[in-house]
């Protein structure tokens, strides 16, 4: 395989960045859609159905007749998909209101900070170790070259992720401040305190996998937690996983920790004064952050791009693979980005599920949970990981 020239490397990096952005802009609207539908399902209603008028044509005929028979038609579950486009259009087309007393520059820059911070994090996330796919020969300039599974799988990947992700809180605090209004201010302050508090147990819970694998590189971490152990990381790191996921909920301001935008107390929290696409950026940032948290959890605790845990894989290789077609064996035993994405989607479902089930903590209780329970627990967990590392290696 030829070494790519500088131009070729740059072009491939651009291609990868585009792919990541495409991934984000596919998964975020789908999460939005799933949120409506899954919540609807949890709450014994249909969720979004208004757009996509399938009341005409064949599907419409089936729908109407199933309604008459007293059944909820399956097609109704899929109606409302064009609402994804509608959402985006709505945000772009709505009037962008600038409060007269707002600090104009900060008000403008805050959503950008939130959004950029959440997107840039994706650079270090490795969807699959090594090559994602090889470009076909007919592509000009970069034909025949491999495209890696991450934009920049740097050796300090986890540091990059945590560092950049914590920049996002500036967007929220600044938005609350710049709005020059009382509810956003309260929301921004709450959020600042909350995210800073939860950063600590979140980082500590991720340190345990780092200790166990001895690397900060995302793909290496992912590999050692998935196939370096006989089982997925979730088993030796069960508390780590639980605390990480909970802190992830808090970091992304999701239920039951959605203090900054606790709708019933603070109207809409820090983005009360925002409208149009500026609000849209906060909205997108929240869902991208959810995806990032899910991606990290899936890579470190749920086996990342590998379908089978290592132990099972060994058995599988030994007994079954000689009798199965090679393609299937590759599919089951090699890392594939599709499994990684599947696990992300599973975790996103958990987010929605939790949102539909439990009430919201009070602000002081949220802080107490972080400082009184999670930090000591993660420290103990870290110690356990260190012991395992010490005796196992």
């Amino acid at each position: 395989m030829p070494t790519p020239t500088l131009t070729q490397s740059v072009l491939i990096a651009i291609l990868q960045a585009i792919l990541v952005v495409v991934f984000i802009f596919v998964i975020v609207p789908l999460t939005l859609f799933a949120e409506r539908k899954v919540l609807g399902y949890l709450q014994q209603r249909l969720g979004a159905t208004r757009i996509a008028g399938t009341l005409t044509g064949l599907s419409g005929f089936l729908n109407r007749n199933m309604w008459k028979m007293g059944k909820i038609p399956m097609l109704s579950y899929w109606r409302g998909i064009p609402m994804l486009v509608g959402d985006v259009l709505k945000m772009i087309l709505k009037e962008d209101i600038l409060p007269t007393k707002a600090d104009k520059f900060v008000f403008f820059i805050a959503p950008a900070i939130s959004f950029v911070a959440s997107v840039v994090v994706f650079a270090a996330i490795s969807f699959v170790p090594g090559t994602l796919f090889t470009l076909p020969q007919w592509v000009p300039v970069i034909g025949g070259l491999p495209v890696a599974g991450a934009v920049g799988d740097v050796n300090v990947g986890l540091l990059w992720i945590l560092g950049i992700a914590s920049v996002g809180v500036y967007g929220i605090v600044l938005a609350g401040w710049a709005s020059n209004s009382k509810y956003p201010l309260l929301g921004g302050l709450r959020s600042g305190a909350q995210i800073v508090s939860y950063e600590v147990p979140l980082t500590l819970s991720l340190l345990a996998p780092v200790v166990m694998s001895g690397s900060l590189q995302f793909s290496e971490l992912s590999r050692s937690m998935a196939v370096g152990l006989p089982i997925w990381g979730i088993v030796p790191q069960f508390f780590g996983f639980f605390i990480y996921l909970t802190c992830g909920f808090a970091e992304t301001n999701r239920m039951p920790f959605d203090m900054p935008e606790a709708e019933n107390e603070l109207v809409a929290g820090f983005h009360t004064e925002y409208s149009g696409m500026k609000f849209g950026f906060f909205y997108l940032a929240e869902y991208i952050n959810m995806t990032v948290v899910a991606a990290i959890a899936s890579a470190f605790f749920l086996g990342g791009p590998w379908l089978l845990p290592f132990g099972l894989q060994g058995l599988f290789n030994h007994f079954l693979s000689p009798h199965l077609p090679a393609l299937l064996v590759t599919f089951l035993c090699e890392p594939h980005a599709i499994f990684f994405v599947g696990k992300i989607i599973l975790l996103l479902f958990v987010y929605i599920w939790v949102r539909g089930t439990i009430p919201r903590y009070r602000y002081d209780q949220v802080m107490a949970v972080a400082w009184k329970y999670f930090i000591p627990l993660t420290l103990v967990n870290l110690m356990l990981a260190a012991l395992v590392r010490y005796f196992a290696v």
């Binding site: 309260l186 107390e265 439990i358």
Partner: protein, 366 residues
């Protein structure tokens, strides 16, 4: 250079959790509430004055529109106050049907309370579950009188019509499934750690303060005072019913939640007894076409879902309209206790407190 200042903040009148157009003026020190004043009047329509310009029959529809979540309970108080004023005796069958409808109304009102209270605290799924059952109750209302929310189901002197055919089946179907539904809500909330953290010990109002402020209904019973007008001064057919008054002694939001849930069970019991012991007979007494009072005044209190609803009526000789009409609205009086409950606690607690008060602004502002 820096100085500490208390932040003054308006909760409402347009706010997701104040159940309508309540405005609460708060002074916050950080997130702690230092000072709280509820401000009302955004939904004032002058119901009392309007009723003074309507005949006794016409006034009734305005009572529907005070606490629109418990229209039948309001109707019942109005009808009985008038019956007291004019000395009308209501047939026994009508009393039973009234009792049953009133208890259905209590269920509907408590279901709305549970829905909004849970939604305020963030448990959004309960909202849709309770509305599913409330829908059945509204269907029963509709089967009885044709309308669902502001029903005007009762008449002075009895009822306009007897129960429709198939009504009993609807009621039995509802009663058969309702206990399981209550259990479903309890499974979601009662032992939920977060729900308990948000409600246990929050917005306390002890019995002494509650009595001093005139608080009635589940709020009072959750403080350990077993005062329920259905038992204390029985009206309609309540004297013949076998039911309990659930009380708690913790006097906090969680206790009120448990009291209301227990009340729903008792309501279902009363409905069952009404259906079982339903007497035969007419449903309407002989009432003259135009009611004109001698100079006379009457105060009649009934137990609405939210507390004691009292109607004060003064008749005037030769006047087909009441001379003076006043309502003791439970929500209005219970709302007075809000500052007592929340001052010194956190901002998030006021949401729980407003939810536990179970207020309807239509009744408070009248």
């Amino acid at each position: 250079m820096f100085k500490n200042e208390e932040m003054e903040i308006n909760l409402g009148p347009q706010h997701p959790s104040t159940h309508g157009v309540l405005r609460v003026k708060l002074r916050l020190d950080g997130e702690t509430i230092k000072h709280c004043r509820p401000m009302i009047g955004y939904l004032h329509r002058g119901v009392e004055k309007i009723c003074e310009n309507k005949t006794y029959f016409q006034g009734q529809i305005w009572t529907d529109r005070m606490d629109y979540c418990s229209a039948i309970a309001n109707n019942l108080g109005w009808a009985e106050a008038n019956e007291k004023l004019f000395g009308i005796t209501v047939p026994r069958r009508a009393q039973y049907i009234r009792t049953m409808l009133n208890e259905f109304n209590r269920l509907a009102s408590h279901l709305v309370w549970l829905a909004t209270h849970a939604l305020d605290i963030g448990a959004m799924t309960v909202f849709l579950y309770t509305f599913r059952e409330r829908e059945d109750i509204l269907d029963i209302n509709e089967a009885f009188c044709g309308s669902r929310l502001t029903t005007t189901a009762l008449r002075i002197g009895g009822l306009r019509e007897d129960l429709p055919p198939g009504f009993e089946k609807m009621v039995q179907k509802f009663l058969a499934k309702f206990p399981a539904c209550l259990e479903e809500y309890e499974n979601l909330l009662s032992e939920n750690r977060i729900w308990k953290k948000r409600t246990v010990g929050v917005a306390k109002l002890n019995a002494e303060d509650a009595i001093a402020l005139g608080v009635t209904g589940p709020m009072l019973r959750a403080a350990g005072v077993p005062y329920d007008i259905r038992k204390a001064f029985p009206y309609a057919a309540y004297a013949e019913m076998d039911f309990e008054i659930p009380t708690r002694t913790e006097a906090d939001t969680y206790a009120r939640y448990l009291v209301r849930l227990a009340e729903m069970r008792q309501s279902a019991r009363i409905i069952q007894q009404c259906m079982d012991g339903m007497p035969e007979g007419p449903v309407m007494a002989k009432v003259p076409k135009i009611l004109k009072a001698e100079v006379n005044e009457v105060y009649h209190a009934t137990e609405a879902p939210k507390g004691e609803i009292g109607y004060y009526l003064v008749g005037e000789k030769g006047n087909p309209n009441p001379y003076r009409f006043h309502v003791r609205a439970p929500g209005f009086i219970n709302l007075q206790s809000l500052p007592k409950m929340v001052e010194g606690s956190l901002l998030a607690d006021i949401v729980a407190a407003i939810g536990t008060l179970d207020i309807v602004l239509g009744e408070i502002d009248r």
